[in-house]
């Protein structure tokens, strides 16, 4: 008995030459390329962005150059457009989340019911997710919200009302509607799967306890969905912080800066004004902002998922 225990390698505290060291030799070269590539993939752009953010660097004016210190940052942080963009970004993320999670939950409850043609209805509801952002933005811009050719204008006109110029009068709201339309299927898909995993005996127990549709929703279904909703919020936030195509195609950030978010502001600075230094500084600020949001989100969601 004693001999077998001493002979067997203790995991974690291994001192045997056999198993462990051999494994290191074998696996390190195999994982190294991907680790190196991923590391470079991340660190090179980040380092370059950091580097450029401390430089005077304008593509239109090769004469200026050299170290700028924090001037790009101070210029940006005192520039009201950054604050506008930041507020727009938060506004956009927040409302898209509210719409997709809210409507997604309701639709998930609906599609969980048995009705004729349910599978086709589900397919149709999921479909927008497979349309490219640029395409869907163009469809919304030219076929739905267009003040002359659009479907909405047709409706308002047939009611005798003036057409609404969506992108002129409500630029950010229009962008939010388009983005929410794109992300609703994602929320629906995750939440529907979650609802279907709810134990049917639990629902029956609640029915016997006297729960009607509303109590069932608020006391049984919604708590059950808590975790799935957290996941939807986390994933959507990551993508919504960098919405670009929808803005580029529809409003181009305007009128003025009314629908400019951080991603679009960086684009404006870097490519419209050819100010690489300023754009890089804005990029760094966006990275920091995203990380702050991520820390809060991951914390609260990890707590949610843990219990």
């Amino acid at each position: 008995m004693a001999s077998t225990t001493t002979a067997a390698p203790v995991p974690g505290t291994s001192t045997t030459v056999g198993g462990r060291s051999q494994r290191n030799v074998k696996t390190l070269p195999l994982v190294a390329p991907s680790v190196v590539i991923l590391f470079l993939w991340m660190i090179v752009p980040l380092a370059m962005t950091l580097w450029f953010s401390f430089q005077y660097y304008n593509l239109l004016d090769p004469t200026v150059g050299g170290f700028a210190g924090f001037e790009n940052y101070t210029f940006l942080l005192t520039d009201p457009s950054l604050w506008t963009a930041m507020i727009n970004t938060i506004f956009l993320v927040f409302w898209v989340l509210v719409i997709t999670v809210g409507l997604g939950t309701l639709l998930a409850v609906l599609f969980d019911q048995d009705f004729y043609g349910r599978s086709i209805a589900r397919l149709l509801a999921i479909a927008p997710f497979f349309v490219m952002p640029t395409v869907s933005a163009l469809v919304w811009k030219n076929m739905l919200m267009h003040p002359v050719n659009g479907l909405f204008a047709f409706f308002t006109r047939s009611l005798g009302l003036p057409a609404i110029d969506f992108f002129g009068s409500f630029p950010l709201t229009s962008v939010i509607i388009i983005v929410a339309w794109q992300w609703l299927p994602f929320a629906l898909l995750i939440l529907l799967t979650a609802i279907q995993s709810l134990d049917s005996e639990q629902k029956e127990a609640a029915r016997m306890d006297g729960a009607g549709p509303f109590s069932m929703f608020f006391f049984i279904i919604l708590p059950h969905l808590g975790r799935a909703i957290s996941v939807v919020i986390m994933i959507e936030t990551i993508f919504l912080l960098s919405v670009f195509a929808e803005i580029y195609v529809t409003t181009s950030g305007g009128p003025g800066l009314a629908s400019t978010n951080l991603a679009f502001l960086i684009y404006l600075r870097a490519l419209r004004e050819y100010d690489v230094g300023g754009a890089s500084a804005a990029g760094v600020i966006a990275v920091i902002l995203a990380n702050i949001v991520a820390v809060f989100l991951v914390r609260s969601i990890a707590k949610n998922i843990a219990d």
Binding site: D199, E204, A205, M208
Partner: protein, 377 residues
């Protein structure tokens, strides 16, 4: 008072008939057990009583009122599910008080009622825990507590003990019997385990493929099974069945001959049986003993020693297998040849259709009832 009456209850799923017309009456404060093999429709029947499944045809009455179309929460029933179906995000106290909360009972009263149920079930110091922090037996008790809190007219249980380990199951069985006595409530209990049925029931209802094979007290089913199915289902180990032929019929007994050549006088009313008819002899393992000049001879193939008793799985000379219960002290080993004596008074006879041939005398305990002695509060 709460009596339940089922009149011609049927259930169809599409074209498939699952419950094929059940007539049954369950008395006030009775512990009624539905037992039967898996898939026979026990759960379906219980869920129809609960109101979770539509009743295709027939009448369901509680206290004389037809409640086919009354929603589940208004039938005055409480159900304990096999999976417990506790609400995972609520504490034990909230789980138990959920129905009261939905009914708008004030917080103080709710707390008092939950505390009372917790006291009965010994859950007092677990009230703040979440279901996942409880053991299987404790979860089971919370599920029962959730039912008790509502003070229902009838408790419904769907295989509540099948997720527990063997020793806990025995313990909960005793606890449920005690609870039945203490609450003086009508209970309907579904199980596939005949031991649970025998130990707890006032009335056992044996179901098979959607029909009632027999309903009666445990000892009635044990001593007077109506057919071969019930005879084989009730009792452990299973009753042995041997082919036989009627050789003589008198007023007091029917004489049969076994393939081994042995002859037995069974005290049953012959009814329509005539000499030469093929019948089936049913004899329980506990009604046989090893003796010098027995009716049956065979070779022991497997020996199961439980300590108090020993089961001998014996192959008879004509090849049929027989389970014999013997004393725990006997030294008989595998491949020994034994001679088995039957007790004719405890033997059963079944006709060609598998129906029991009526016995001469009714067992004195067959009508024994075990209703709670306390008065309902």
């Amino acid at each position: 008072m709460s009596t339940i009456v089922l009149k011609g209850i049927q259930k169809n799923y599409g074209a498939v008939q699952v419950i094929k017309g059940i007539d049954l009456s369950i008395d006030d404060r009775e512990f009624c057990v539905f037992v039967g093999p898996s898939g026979c429709g026990k759960s379906t029947l219980l869920r129809m009583i609960a109101g979770l499944e539509e009743i295709t045809a027939g009448d369901l009455m509680i206290d004389g009122q037809r409640i086919n179309d009354v929603p589940p929460s208004e039938r005055g029933l409480a159900m304990v599910f096999q999976s417990y179906a506790l609400y995972p995000h609520m504490s034990v106290a909230d789980n138990m008080g959920f129905s009261l909360r939905l009914a708008g009972v004030p917080k103080e009263e709710r707390r008092a009622k939950v505390a009372e149920a917790a006291r009965i079930l010994h859950l007092d110091n677990l009230l703040d825990r979440k279901p996942k922090e409880l053991s299987g037996g404790q979860r089971q008790r919370v599920a029962i507590g959730r039912a008790i809190v509502r003070k229902p007219k009838v408790f419904l249980f769907d295989e509540p003990l099948s997720n527990l380990d063997a020793s806990l199951r025995v313990q909960m069985r005793i606890e449920l019997a005690r609870l039945h006595d203490e609450l003086a409530a009508t209970m309907i209990y579904v199980t596939h385990d005949q031991i649970e049925a025998m130990t707890m029931a006032d009335k056992i209802v044996v179901l098979q493929s959607g029909i009632v094979e027999q309903a009666g007290t445990p000892l009635e089913l044990y001593h007077h099974p109506r057919n071969q199915f019930v005879a084989g289902f009730i009792g452990s180990p299973k009753m042995n069945f041997l082919p036989a032929k009627v050789t003589a019929v008198t007023d007091t007994a029917t004489t049969i001959a076994l393939p081994s050549g042995a002859s037995l006088d069974i005290p049953v009313r012959a009814g329509g049986q005539k000499v030469g008819y093929a019948v089936t002899l049913g004899v329980r393992p506990e009604h046989m003993r090893l003796a010098g000049e027995g009716e049956l001879l065979g070779e022991v193939m497997v020996v199961e020693r439980l300590g108090g008793e020993t089961f001998l799985y014996t192959q008879l000379n004509d090849g049929t297998m027989l389970i014999v219960q013997a004393d725990g002290e006997i030294p008989t080993g595998v491949h020994e040849r034994i001679s088995i004596k039957l007790d004719p008074a405890a033997c059963h006879l079944f006709d060609g259709e598998g129906l029991a041939i009526e016995r001469m005398e009714r067992h004195p305990l067959a009508n024994l009832r075990r209703l709670p002695t306390r008065k309902a509060s």
